[in-house]
């Protein structure tokens, strides 16, 4: 009789343990992310280089000024390069606070407009 009772409790505890394991596995499988929150969560995981932000803040204005002067369409009035200068000037204006992009544009301007920029 005593052995039977022990066995019953043993079986019950095994069932309980199995239920706990099942629930735990289900919990791990359950998606905690709503599809609508994905955009926000992606942004949360993105790595931002603060050195780039500082460069955008302090180095970009001088470079922007130099580039916007260098490729200003008025400098190329009546020149066959005027449409190219116009396009580059617009690109420079769009990337006023993006130092990396401005550096790329600097080489592009030097190649396409055949001018040297001191900045």
């Amino acid at each position: 009789m005593k052995i039977l009772i022990t066995n019953q409790w043993l079986i019950l505890s095994i069932i309980e343990f199995a239920v706990i394991v099942y629930l735990f596995v289900q919990l791990r499988k359950t998606k905690r992310i709503n599809p609508s929150d994905l955009e926000i969560l992606k942004a949360r995981k993105s790595d931002i280089n603060m050195d780039d932000v500082m460069r955008d803040m302090h180095a970009a204005p001088a470079l922007y000024k130099a580039l916007s002067r260098a490729c200003h369409p008025d400098r190329f009035a009546g020149n066959p390069l005027e449409p190219v200068a116009n396009e580059l000037f617009q690109e420079v204006q769009q990337n006023e606070h993006n130092f990396k992009q401005l550096e790329f544009l600097k080489t592009k301007i030097q190649e396409q407009l055949h001018i040297k920029i001191k900045a």
């Binding site: 919990l27 926000i40 942004a43 949360r44 931002i48 603060m50 500082m54 955008d56 302090h58």
Partner: protein, 134 residues
């Protein structure tokens, strides 16, 4: 019950992530200042923020991302605007700030009484996620 445990875990994760972002910002600002690349030393802190700018992910009593410029003189409005424009034009950074619970960007100097503040949500370019502005 698990939901509450996860929310506690998320709260601690967010907190450490926010601290990390502020620390990285301050470290980069300090390095730029020491290397003579920046004319003023910037310092980011967490402030209360503006309750009128709150959104769905705002942190309670900690929704303000404050940038203090240690300029030694009152900054002109255009100088403060140029500092804030760099942050606001960096959409990735704005989104990260929003996702970590910030709703207000504040820029001010260390000697003047004026500062400017922006509602971050307006510069995030997120459409249809928060929803209530449509």
């Amino acid at each position: 019950m698990w939901k509450y445990l996860y929310s506690i875990q998320d709260w601690f994760n967010d907190f450490s992530e926010r601290r990390r972002l502020v620390r990285n910002f301050n470290l980069s600002a300090r390095q730029a200042f020491v290397a003579n690349q920046a004319p003023t030393l910037l310092e980011a802190t967490i402030s209360i923020g503006d309750s009128a700018y709150r959104h769905a992910f705002s942190k309670f009593m900690a929704g303000g991302f404050r940038i203090k410029a240690l300029s030694g003189r009152p900054l002109a409005r255009h100088e403060m605007v140029s500092i804030s424009e760099v942050v606001l034009n960096n959409q990735e950074l704005v989104r990260k700030l929003i996702s970590l619970g910030w709703d207000t960007l504040e820029v001010h100097d260390n000697s003047g009484y004026n500062g400017i503040k922006y509602k971050l949500y307006d510069y995030s370019g997120i459409g249809g996620v928060l929803g209530f502005n449509q």
